[in-house]
C-alpha cells in the first residue's frame, strides 16, 4: 500500500495541487486535509503547502494557525510524524509555534520569484536525510516574506543542534545566516521558503527537488518515532 500524504488546504492556499502532483509522481497517495476539520486522518506525512492562507491578511500564517486542522497537525508532529511546510506553509508553522523564528519582508521590499541556489547543511531532518551535506540544489523561490529572522538565543540553538537544514548560497532576501529552511529538535518538522515541488520535472528546468521530497516520503514510510513507550505508531490512532 502506498504512502498517504495529507496536504493541508486553507482558504487562499494555492500550491496544494502542485504538492500533490509532485508526491504522487513519486508513488505516494495525496489527499486534502481541510482547514476546518481537526484531524490528520490516517496519513503518514503532512505537507502545509504554499499560497496565501486567509489572504496573508494581518500577517502570513497569523490567521491560519488558529484553524482546527493545525491542532491535529501539532499532535501529529508531537508524535513524530513528518511535517513539511513549504513557503506559506513554513510561515504558518512558525506562527503556530511548531518551528522557531519568523519570516519578515524580503530585504529588497519586493516579491521575488526566481531560482535560488541552496546548500544542504544538515541531514538530520526528514527532508534531507537522503542527501549528503554540502549538496547544492537549484530550487525556485516565490515569496514576499521570506526573510528569516530569530533572536540570538534561537539562532545559537539552531546552530548547536544542527537544525539549519538548507542555506542560500547567494542570499536573495536578507535571511539571517542565509537560512532557507530549518527543522524541529526532533528533525521531523521542517519548514523552508523554496519550493521543492517546483523542481520536480525535467521540463520545469530542475529536478533537484525530487531528492528532498523522496527523503520526506521515506521518513513517512519509516516506523514512527513515537514518544510513547513501546514505539507503536501512535499517530495513526488519532
Amino acid at each position: 500500500m502506498s504512502l498517504r500524504v495529507g496536504v493541508v488546504v486553507f482558504p487562499g492556499s494555492n500550491c496544494e495541487g502542485d504538492a500533490m502532483e509532485a508526491v504522487e509522481g513519486l508513488g505516494a497517495e495525496a489527499e486534502v486535509l481541510w482547514h476546518g476539520e481537526a484531524t490528520t486522518r490516517q496519513v503518514d506525512a503532512v505537507i502545509v503547502p504554499g499560497g496565501f492562507a486567509h489572504g496573508d491578511y494581518l500577517r502570513p500564517g497569523a490567521i491560519a494557525r488558529f484553524s482546527p486542522v493545525m491542532g491535529a497537525v501539532a499532535d501529529f508532529a508531537e508524535q513524530g510524524g513528518p511535517v513539511l511546510g513549504i513557503c506559506n506553509g513554513f510561515q504558518v508553522l512558525t506562527e503556530a509555534g511548531l518551528l522557531p523564528g519568523a519570516l519578515q519582508k524580503n530585504r529588497g521590499l519586493k516579491f521575488l520569484c526566481t531560482t535560488a541556489t541552496l546548500r544542504v547543511d544538515s541531514c538530520r531532518s526528514v527532508l534531507t536525510s537522503g542527501l549528503a551535506p554540502g549538496t547544492v540544489l537549484r530550487i525556485p523561490i516565490n515569496h514576499f516574506e521570506g526573510n528569516y529572522t530569530a533572536d540570538p538565543e534561537t539562532l545559537a540553538e539552531l546552530r548547536a543542534e544542527d537544525r539549519i537544514v538548507v542555506r542560500y548560497v547567494d542570499n536573495p532576501n536578507g535571511s539571517l545566516d542565509d537560512i532557507a529552511g530549518i527543522c524541529s529538535s526532533a528533525g521531523n518538522v521542517v519548514g523552508l521558503m523554496p519550493h521543492p515541488e517546483r523542481a520536480s520535472h525535467p521540463l520545469l528546468g530542475s529536478t533537484d527537488g525530487v531528492a528532498l521530497l523522496q527523503s520526506f516520503l521515506d521518513a513517512g514510510g519509516a516506523p514512527a518515532r513515537s514518544t510513547t513507550p513501546g514505539g507503536t505508531p501512535e499517530r495513526h490512532a488519532s
Binding site: 482558504p11 487562499g12 499560497g51 489572504g55 496573508d56 516579491f111 520569484c113 526566481t114 525535467p202 520545469l204
Partner: protein, 731 residues
C-alpha cells in the same frame, strides 16, 4: 427636455431620445443610469462594432468566438482553452495599484465564468519615459498591483511586455490577458433560462466603488481639471475574496448546480442581469433590497451600476439552492438570492422587494443589444511628403544599441510565474510555454500551450494597416521560436478619441491589417476588447493594437532552446535581409520629433508563414542551440539580448550600414546553430524556400558587428540588466 442628467451620465441627446422611444415614455433616473452604463463605449463597442465584423472568427477548433466572456478553443484530449484580453488603462492612470489589480481580477472572472480554471496571466504594460516622475509612479504601482493581486489569487503571470514611450505619458496602457482550461463538456455560457429559476449573487457585498467606471472613466479622455475627481470611479480589489470565489464557482460547475453564470464587471449588476436575461431570451426581476451592501443609504442606481469587484451572478434552479448555499458556505463565499427568471416578455424589472414597487422596467435586450452603433467619420492623415525623408543618421551605433537594451526581469520577478508546475518557458523569452495538463484529472497530454503578447505603436503610427499585420506576424514568429503553431488570437485595441476622424481611420485600418494577417497565417480572432478615448490634453496616443496569440506544441518532450548562445556556434539569419529603417525604433530616436519615418518595410505574409514553419521544424527537431526573433530594435537588439543573457560574445562581420543593424523588417530570426549542423539547417531552409545566411560566430568576450559595434560583453550585459532598475531608482 432636461439635458443635464443624461449628459452628466455620458449619454448624448440623440441617445436619450432613443431610450425614450424604446420605453415609450421618459426614463426615470434609475433607468437612465442603467442605459448610460450599458450604452457606454466600454460596454457597447458602439464606435468599433461595425469594423470588428471584418475580423475572421472562424476556425475548426473554435468552440466560442467573439461576443461571449471569452473565446474558447478545442485543444484536444477533451480539453478546451478559454482566452481573453482586456484593458484597464484609465483606472491604472488614476490609481495604478488598484487599477492594475482589478484589471487582473476582472479578466480572471471572464475566464472562470466560462467554466475554465485560470492557469496563466500575461500583462502588456505601456507607460511614459522613466525620466518622468509620474510614469515611474505608474509603472511601479501597476507592477505592484499585478504582483499583489495575481500572486495572491493563485494564477501565475507567465509573460508580457513593458514599453516606455512619450505617447503614453498622459495615458498609460495596462492590458491583461488570461488563459484558462476546462473540460469541453463543462463549457457554460452566461445565459439565464427556466422561468422560476433564481439569480444568486455570489461574492463581495456591493459598495460605492467603481460607480460610473465604464462611462465616466473608461469612455472619456484625460486632461481636464477634474481627473482627480475620477478616483472614486476606480474599484478596489480583494484577491482573497476572488480566490474563494474561483474555487466556489468551479465547484458549483463541477457539481452541475448552476444553469448559467456571469461575472459582474463593467456596469455591474445592470450588465450581468440584462446580459444573462437577454442571451437566454427571458426576463428577470431583481430585488434591489436583497443585494448585500457595504454601506447604508445607497441609492438603487448606485447598487445597479456599482463595479464592486469579486462578484458573480449564478442562475440556479430552486431545488438546488440549498446545495448551492452549502457549497458557497464551505468556501466562505456570500450567496444571496437577488432575482428571479421571469417570462415577462424579456423585461428586466428592478423592484424594491419582490412584491414591492417597481423601480425600473426595461426590455433586457435593449440594454444589451440596442445600443447605438456609430459609423463615425474616417479621415486618413494628409498625404506624406512627395519625397521620402532622408534616412536618419545614427552617429554611434554601439551606444544606440546599449540604450535600447532592457531586461524586464525587474518586473517579472515580482510575479509568480511557476504555479501549477506548467511553466516550461516563463517570462523573458520570445513566448511563454506551458505544459498542457487536463484541468480536472491533471493528466499530462505530452503537448504544450504557448502564449505571446505583442504590440508596436511605432509601426502602427506610421502605417496602421501594415503595422498591425506586422504585429500579428511577429506574434506568430514568437510562438514558432518555442516550437508552437498558432491556434487563436485575441486583441486589445487601444486607440485615442473615436470622435477624431483620424483615430477612426487608424482603427479601421488596423482591423483590416489584422484581418489580412490572420487570414494569411490561419489564425482566427476569437475575442477582443476595444479601449478608446486614450488621450490626454487633447492628444491621442499612437494607435496600439495589442495581440495575444495562443499556440500549441504538438509534442513537448524537451525545453525549447530559448534565447541562448554558446561559444563555438554559428549565427544564422533566417529570413530576408533588410536595411529598411521604416518605423524602426532607432530611426525614431534619431529624428528631432521622435517620430519614426515611413513607409514600413514590406511584409510578405506567404514568406512569413514559411519562415515560421521552418523555425518550428528546427525547434522540434532539436537542431538549434538558441533562437530569437528580430523585432523591436532589429538585428542589433536581437544579438545584444542573446549576448547579454548568455554572457558569451559574438562576431558578425561585414556590416557597415546601420540600416542592417536596426531594421525591424519582419519574418526574421537569429538562429544559433552548432557548427556540425549548419549545413543541415541551411539545406532545410533551402528546401523550405526560406533565405538563410550564416552571418557570424559566437565566442569571446566582445560583441563585434562589422565596423559599427565593438562592445565588451560585460558592458552589454550591464546595460541590459541595469536599465530598468536604475531608471526606477532601485539600483
Amino acid at each position: 427636455m432636461d439635458t443635464t442628467l443624461h449628459r452628466a451620465l455620458g449619454l448624448t441627446d440623440e441617445e436619450a431620445d432613443q431610450i425614450r422611444t424604446i420605453l415609450g415614455r421618459p426614463p426615470n433616473h434609475l433607468e437612465l443610469a442603467m442605459y448610460a452604463v450599458m450604452w457606454s463605449e466600454h460596454c457597447s463597442y458602439k464606435s468599433s462594432r461595425i469594423h470588428l465584423r471584418r475580423l475572421p472568427a472562424e476556425g475548426e477548433r473554435v468552440l466560442v468566438g467573439p461576443g461571449e466572456n471569452a473565446g474558447v478553443i478545442d485543444v484536444g484530449d477533451g480539453i478546451a482553452a478559454a482566452i481573453r484580453i482586456e484593458s484597464h488603462n484609465h483606472p491604472s492612470a488614476i490609481e495604478p495599484y488598484q487599477g492594475a489589480a482589478t484589471g487582473a481580477g476582472g479578466i480572471l472572472r471572464d475566464i472562470f465564468t466560462m467554466g475554465a480554471r485560470p492557469i496563466a496571466l500575461m500583462d502588456a504594460l505601456r507607460v511614459g519615459p522613466l525620466d518622468d516622475d509620474r510614469s515611474r509612479w505608474i509603472l511601479e504601482g501597476v507592477v505592484s498591483g499585478i504582483s499583489g493581486y495575481g500572486n495572491s489569487v493563485g494564477v501565475p503571470t507567465v509573460g508580457g511586455e513593458v514599453v516606455c514611450d512619450p505617447t503614453y505619458t498622459g495615458n498609460p496602457l495596462v492590458n491583461v490577458a488570461c488563459l484558462g482550461l476546462l473540460p469541453v463538456e463543462r463549457l457554460v455560457l452566461g445565459r439565464a433560462s427556466g422561468v422560476g429559476n433564481l439569480a444568486v449573487l455570489l461574492g463581495s457585498a456591493t459598495g460605492r466603488d467603481g460607480i460610473g467606471g465604464v462611462s465616466v472613466l473608461a469612455s472619456a479622455g484625460f486632461g481636464g481639471d477634474d481627473d482627480g475627481a475620477k478616483r472614486p470611479s476606480v474599484q478596489v480589489g480583494d484577491p482573497f475574496e476572488e480566490k474563494r470565489l474561483i474555487e466556489a464557482c468551479l465547484a458549483l460547475l463541477d457539481a452541475g448546480l448552476v444553469v448559467g453564470i456571469q461575472d459582474l464587471g463593467g456596469a455591474g449588476l445592470t450588465c450581468a442581469t440584462s446580459e444573462t436575461a437577454s442571451r437566454g431570451g427571458v426576463g428577470m426581476d431583481v430585488d434591489v433590497s436583497a443585494v448585500p451592501l457595504r454601506e447604508a443609504g445607497m441609492e438603487p442606481f448606485e447598487v445597479l451600476t456599482s463595479e464592486s469587484q469579486e462578484r458573480m451572478l449564478a442562475i440556479v434552479a430552486p431545488d438546488d439552492l440549498e446545495e448551492v448555499l452549502a457549497l458557497c458556505g464551505r468556501w466562505e463565499v456570500r450567496a444571496s438570492v437577488i432575482g428571479r427568471v421571469t417570462g415577462e416578455g424579456g423585461r428586466l424589472r428592478i423592484l424594491d422587494g419582490f412584491e414591492g414597487p417597481v423601480l425600473a422596467d426595461v426590455p433586457a435586450a435593449s440594454l444589451h443589444e440596442d445600443a447605438p452603433r456609430y459609423d463615425r467619420p474616417l479621415a486618413a492623415p494628409s498625404a506624406p511628403a512627395a519625397s521620402p525623408p532622408a534616412a536618419p543618421s545614427i552617429a554611434d551605433p554601439g551606444a544606440e544599441l546599449l540604450a535600447m537594451l532592457a531586461d524586464p526581469s525587474w518586473v517579472y520577478r515580482q510575479y509568480d510565474s511557476q504555479l501549477f508546475l506548467n511553466t516550461v518557458e516563463g517570462p523573458g523569452g520570445d513566448a511563454a510555454l506551458l505544459r498542457l495538463k487536463h484541468p480536472t484529472t491533471g493528466r499530462d497530454t505530452g503537448r504544450g500551450l504557448a502564449l505571446t503578447t505583442d504590440g508596436n505603436h511605432r509601426w502602427c503610427a506610421v502605417e496602421p494597416r501594415r503595422g498591425t499585420a506586422m504585429v500579428v506576424a511577429e506574434a506568430v514568429l514568437n510562438l514558432a521560436c518555442v516550437g508552437a503553431h498558432p491556434l487563436a488570437l485575441v486583441d486589445c485595441l487601444n486607440f485615442g478619441n473615436p470622435e477624431h476622424p483620424q483615430v477612426m481611420w487608424q482603427l479601421s485600418e488596423c482591423i483590416d491589417g489584422m484581418a489580412e494577417a490572420c487570414r494569411a497565417l490561419g489564425v482566427p480572432v476569437v475575442g477582443g476588447n476595444v479601449s478608446l478615448y486614450n488621450e490626454s490634453q487633447g492628444t491621442d496616443i499612437d494607435p496600439t493594437p495589442v495581440v495575444t496569440v495562443l499556440g500549441m506544441v504538438d509534442r513537448l518532450v524537451r525545453r525549447p532552446p530559448g534565447v541562448a548562445l554558446e561559444a563555438g556556434t554559428t549565427l544564422v539569419l533566417l529570413g530576408p535581409h533588410s536595411s529598411d529603417l521604416g518605423g524602426a525604433r532607432a530611426a525614431a530616436r534619431a529624428t528631432a520629433d521622435g517620430e519614426a519615418p515611413g513607409p514600413l518595410p514590406t511584409l510578405d505574409l506567404a514568406l512569413h508563414a514559411k519562415v515560421a514553419a521552418l523555425v518550428r521544424r528546427l525547434v522540434a527537431d532539436e537542431l538549434l542551440v538558441g533562437v530569437h526573433d528580430i523585432a523591436d530594435g532589429g538585428l542589433a537588439v536581437a544579438l545584444g539580448e542573446v549576448v547579454a543573457r548568455s554572457g558569451v560574445g559574438a562576431e558578425v562581420p561585414g556590416v557597415d550600414d546601420p540600416g542592417v543593424l536596426f531594421s525591424e523588417a519582419g519574418s526574421r530570426v537569429v538562429a544559433v546553430v552548432a557548427d556540425h549542423r549548419v549545413d543541415n539547417v541551411l539545406a532545410l531552409a533551402d528546401a523550405a524556400d526560406v533565405p538563410a545566411t550564416a552571418v557570424g560566430t559566437a565566442g569571446g568576450d566582445r560583441l563585434v558587428i562589422g565596423g559599427l559595434v565593438d562592445l565588451d560583453v560585460t558592458a552589454v550585459a550591464a546595460a541590459w540588466r541595469d536599465l530598468l532598475p536604475a531608471a526606477l531608482g532601485w539600483r
